[in-house]
């Protein structure tokens, strides 16, 4: 027993403390509880992993039986294997940095304690998700992080757009979760257990001929769940809107951890996917398409956080692409490096926004290199990392994915390369627009650098972004997944690096060397630009195709027809009948005790007489 | 002699002795109170007023029996009879001594030995509320009603700690038969200390003895708990409207209850008729010694008379005492009467306490009275019961 349960228990305790007492407690208490609980959790993760050593076999701790129904036993089991170890480190490590950052970023917000309470609750559920030893517990974490995401997106719930964004995230996720829960039902129905090891063992052993259809169905349903949580096409629409939440939330939940849960889950279920090649192919194509699709949208966004949000979607697509071509460890590897540089991008964006007093529009920024040097340099680190410039972290993980993709199908590889170029372009576009040129914002506002409590986490993340490629994640994960990666092909590497550098150069050309050129190009492209600028009108299409019919259908059919006339009619009718019957029967209630007694006597005599007539005495 | 004849004979003897005792207890009380208050007490009728009880009885019997017009006749007459009947009924189960043999007949000095004798006594005492309560109600007068109400509330309230105190003594004796309760208290620790329940191991019942005695004061409506008949508030409480023999009946009931209470205390806590110390230390000579001493005192006062006629009367008294002393020196008589002597001595001592308390303590206020029993006496009795139960359970072999 290594007391794995302590890892999620610390943030839960923090949530309870802050949630129950935070309102009246001083800020220092809230900080100490909120950050301290995550720090303790992180330290405990380190301690546990040090104790566990190389983790040749998974370490499972079974605490109690949670659900027992017939043969089905679902326990509260936490597992520490190589995969969850990586995830635990990322979640608690990056989470800790973001918590520290939040102290500065949220300093002037009301509901400060609420923010930290939610954040801690999120940490609890996320850790539960990555440490779960069975599907149901994973699902609990899955739903829990969804709940926290909803709460934190709508943190400023007085703002209608924030509240709407929260709702949208929640509802879109329901669609994915529906698929996920169906997958869980199928697993229970066919395997009689939800524990990972028995299920995967059964998957490996059972003959493919009979189970192929089932496994494909399960894998596809899992993919539905993953697309919801990890914002893949077609369920990605909630993530850009989720940027209404506070920036640390965007960094923690909507970049580094929660949205990668889908990737984690896919990697976790690798045994199932490996037995369902069609589904795996679908994963790859969904990932590739999402990566490209979101990257194109990111080109034309003006909101700095939206740019990074589409970038996140695109990078998540990369991860799915990696998983889909069978390079699960590459996908997780990219997950880790992405957690570093995307968290850094968001936190840096937050720092910029903080510096500008809430301004998010790239067109009203510029020239911040001087006023916010730390932010600039750290953001630059993140940008080179994401652009795949060697030897930084993004280069390693992206290359691993692209190599695997090329091995699988050159088409996927080329999509990846183009996406890499686009990625480099839009990230540097944002960077150049914000930090180069002249300040185009409110002339009365004087931008300033963020306090150390914000910049120190930035620097830590910057270091991680730069060095993240040398952590040996793929080697560590190798025993978990079948090796399918070919040896390095230098030509392919060179192509992707050139693509990235080309993107950077184009961005330099457009936004630093020749400012104004971008607008002219956009004008020339005309309709295409409008299409991209308006995000391919996906939200509008969904609105017309799904939302409106549902709303109007429920109003006209379900409410006015079914509910009012049938259900209400039945209930009211019953009530009315009971009332009229009661009008008759209440005459018996004379209020006279002795008449009641007489009735009782009458009944008793009836019973006695009945006994006398029909026997039953003996 | 068959059972019925024997019972009748015993009942007649008991009734005679009891009635005399009741009458003379009254005399003793008046004398003692008088001396406490530095008065002479009754002294006109007979030497030292010794014939006063007789005179009182004649007076009460011949007085006009007045029944006020506003009363409920049936209950008004029933109440005193109920009171006195119930009071006398309790003597049916009280054992005064061990089995003795008189004129060739072996019989216990007791009317009947019920195996639930104590429960019987409790039942009688709980029902005896009615005498007072009904008298108060039937009199149809404010003072009487208030007296009746007070007494019923008081008697119900004090019955609880009394029963609990009895129960803790029962835990040591392990029987409900009064005779067996006395039998279990036979013997001495270390040859000296009597195995009475107030000294009894493993848990001496001193506390419950005190509680019982206090409750007995309240149950008999005696000072300091005589609120039902508090003269200066309620005129005379429940018997304001009573006169002549019915009035006397209440008094008889009160004194009978006093004797029952003291006898019960003797039986349950003071070892009944067992001597204070063992025979080998000379306990068998104590009765004779006591009577001899009493005769000596009487003779001394006769020789140095305070009043002229004492010169004639006291020597006669002395001679009577000495004769009794000689009587107790005869082994046969001693064997039969010594237990009775011890029983009478203990009961008499307790009765003296009753009178003594009446002469010295003031009356409680009613709320104090109620608070005292519910908030002090009952918890104490309860704690004592639990402690006794615990100790008895832990050390079942010690006795």
């Amino acid at each position: 027993m290594l007391h794995l349960w302590l890892i999620p228990a610390f943030p839960l305790a923090g949530f309870l403390l802050n949630g129950l007492f935070g309102r009246r407690a001083p800020k220092l208490f809230v900080n100490l509880v909120g950050v301290g609980s995550v720090a303790l959790s992180f330290l405990w993760v380190l301690n546990t992993l040090a104790a566990l050593g190389p983790l040749e076999t998974p370490h499972i701790e079974r605490y109690f039986t949670w659900i027992q129904s017939g043969e089905l036993r679902i326990g509260f089991d936490l597992v520490a294997d190589r995969l969850s170890a990586v995830m635990m480190l990322v979640v608690t490590g990056v989470g800790l940095l973001i918590h520290v950052y939040s102290i500065g970023y949220m300093a002037h917000e009301s509901g400060y304690y609420r923010f930290f309470a939610y954040l801690n609750l999120f940490m609890f559920f996320m850790l539960l998700l990555v440490m779960a030893g069975n599907f149901l517990l994973l699902f609990v974490g899955w739903e829990g992080v969804g709940l926290c995401s909803y709460l934190l997106i709508g943190f400023w719930f007085l703002k209608k757009s924030a509240a709407d964004a929260g709702k949208k995230a929640f509802i879109v996720n329901r669609i994915g979760d529906f698929g996920f829960s169906l997958a869980i039902y199928l697993i229970v129905a066919h395997f009689g257990t939800l524990d990972f090891d028995p299920v995967f063992a059964a998957v490996r052993e059972r003959p493919l001929e009979t189970d192929a259809g089932l496994l494909t169905l399960v894998a596809l349903l899992l993919l539905v769940g993953a697309t919801g949580k990890s914002a893949q096409v077609p369920l990605y629409v909630w993530l850009p809107d989720a940027m209404e939440g506070p920036t640390p939330v965007s960094a923690l939940i909507h970049a580094a951890t929660m949205v990668t849960a889908g990737v984690y889950m896919t990697a976790r279920c690798a045994p199932i996917y490996l037995q369902a090649p069609i589904a795996l192919e679908a994963v790859a194509w969904v990932g590739a398409f999402t990566a490209f699709f979101a990257a194109t949208i990111g080109l034309a966004q003006h909101d700095i956080k939206k740019v990074f949000a589409y970038s996140t979607i695109s990078q998540l697509g990369y991860m799915f692409l990696g998983a889909g071509v069978g390079a699960f460890s590459a996908g997780i590897y990219h997950l880790v490096t992405h957690a570093f540089f995307k968290a850094l991008l968001f936190l840096g964006a937050g720092s910029v926004i903080h510096a500008l007093g809430g301004e998010q529009d790239l067109r009203r920024m510029g020239g911040l290199r001087k006023q916010a040097p730390v932010t600039f340099w750290t953001l630059l680190c993140a940008a080179v990392a994401i652009a795949g410039v060697p030897p930084f972290s993004g280069f390693h993980s992206k290359d691993a994915i692209l190599l695997a993709a090329h091995h699988h199908s050159p088409a996927l590889y080329w999509i990846g390369v183009v996406t890499a170029a686009l990625t480099a372009f839009y990230v540097f576009r944002a960077l150049f627009l914000a930090f180069f040129g002249d300040y185009r914002g409110d002339p009365h506002h004087h931008p300033h650098e963020s306090p150390p409590v914000m910049t120190v986490p930035l620097m830590a993340l910057a270091a991680l972004s730069l060095a993240g490629g040398y952590f040996g994640v793929p080697a560590w994960l190798e025993p978990m997944f079948p090796v399918s990666e070919p040896a390095h092909d230098v030509a392919l590497v060179v192509v992707s690096v050139i693509a990235g550098l080309a993107g950077i150069a184009t961005a330099w050309w457009f936004y630093v060397a020749r400012p104004g050129l971008a607008d002219r190009v956009a004008a020339q492209l005309g309709g295409l630009y409008q299409l991209v600028y308006n995000k391919y009108f996906v939200d509008e299409i969904y609105g017309a195709a799904v939302v409106r019919p549902v709303v109007e259908g429920s109003e006209k059919l379900a409410w006015r027809t079914l509910d009012v006339s049938v259900i209400d009619g039945m209930v009211n009718g019953l009530g009315a009948r009971a009332q009229s019957l009661g009008d008759v029967l209440r005459r018996i209630q004379s209020g006279n005790v002795r008449s009641y007694a007489a009735w009782v006597l009458f009944g008793a005599v009836l019973v006695v007489v009945a006994f006398g007539f029909w026997g039953g005495w003996q | 002699m068959d059972f019925i004849t024997l019972s009748v004979v015993k009942a007649v003897i008991l009734a005679a002795v009891l009635m005399t005792t009741l009458a003379y207890l009254q005399w003793v009380e008046r004398k003692v109170i008088a001396h406490i208050q530095l008065r002479m007490g009754p002294s006109r009728v007979g030497p030292h007023g010794l014939l006063q009880p007789l005179a009182d009885v004649i007076k009460l019997l011949t007085k006009e029996d007045l029944i006020p017009p506003h009363v409920n006749r049936f209950l008004y007459i029933l109440a005193p009879f109920l009171a006195v009947t119930l009071a006398l009924m309790s003597f049916a189960v009280v054992p005064f001594g061990p089995e003795i043999e008189i004129f060739g007949v072996r019989t216990p000095v007791q009317l009947t030995d019920l195996n639930i004798g104590l429960l019987f006594l409790l039942a009688i005492s709980s029902v005896s509320v009615y005498g007072v309560a009904l008298a108060g109600w039937a009199s149809n007068s404010k003072y009487s009603l208030l007296g009746g109400l007070r007494s019923s509330a008081q008697m119900i309230s004090y019955e609880l700690p009394m029963a609990v105190a009895l129960a803790s003594a029962l835990l040591l004796s392990n029987t409900l038969s009064l005779r067996e309760i006395v039998d279990t208290q036979q013997g001495y620790y270390l040859g000296v200390i009597p195995k009475w329940n107030i000294f009894r191991l493993p848990f001496p019942q001193i506390l419950s003895f005190v509680v019982f005695l206090i409750c007995a004061f309240a149950e008999t409506n005696r000072l300091p708990f005589d609120l039902p008949e508090a003269e200066n508030e309620l005129v005379a409480g429940f018997h304001t409207e009573y006169s002549s023999m019915k009035f006397a009946a209440f008094f008889m009931a009160e004194y009978a209850n006093m004797i029952t209470g003291c006898a019960l205390a003797t039986i349950l806590f003071l070892g009944g008729w067992h001597p204070l110390w063992p025979a080998e230390w000379g306990a068998h000579l104590v009765p004779a010694a006591v009577f001899f001493l009493a005769g000596a005192i009487a003779f001394y006062h006769g020789a140095h008379p305070a009043r002229p006629r004492d010169r004639r009367t006291l020597p006669i008294v002395a001679v009577v005492f000495w004769m009794l002393a000689v009587l107790f020196l005869l082994p046969e008589v001693r064997a039969a009467l010594a237990p009775l002597f011890w029983f009478a001595a203990k009961t008499g001592l307790l009765l003296f306490c009753f009178i003594w308390v009446r002469g010295t303590l003031p009356r409680f206020r009613y709320d104090q009275l109620m608070r005292f029993t519910w908030k002090f006496l009952f918890p104490v009795a309860m704690a004592n019961l639990m402690a006794t139960g615990l100790v008895v359970a832990l050390f079942p072999d010690v006795s």
Binding site: R586, R587, Q589, S590, G591, N592, V593, R594, A597, A598, L601 | -
Partner: protein
């Protein structure tokens, strides 16, 4: 005739119970009505003790004991209710306590 059959005790119990019911129905003073209930309980107790004799088991006595306990509790609460009733409605007539009706 030296002894009576067991059934006579039961008949006595039934008679007492019926008289209790009659008292409940006939009397209007709420205290007397209450006492009629006690009479019924007593009648039932007699049955218990009788059957205890029949089966030579003390269980019937235990039940009688419990009935007494319940009767005591009932008397305490019931009389308190009567006191409260008299305080608020100034009557002991059970027929005048008839607010709880349609």
């Amino acid at each position: 005739m030296n002894a009576v059959p067991l059934s006579w005790y039961l008949i006595l119990s039934a008679v007492l119970f019926s008289l209790g019911v009659a008292g409940f129905l006939v009397r209007r003073n709420i205290i007397t009505v209450f006492m009629s209930i006690e009479l019924m309980l007593n009648a039932v107790n007699l049955s218990f003790v009788t059957f205890s004799y029949q089966f030579k088991q003390a269980d019937g006595h235990i039940f009688t004991f419990f009935v007494m306990v319940v009767a005591a509790a009932e008397a305490a609460v019931g009389l308190a209710i009567i006191l409260a009733l008299v305080r608020t409605r100034r009557t002991l007539e059970v027929d005048e306590v008839n607010l709880l009706k349609f």
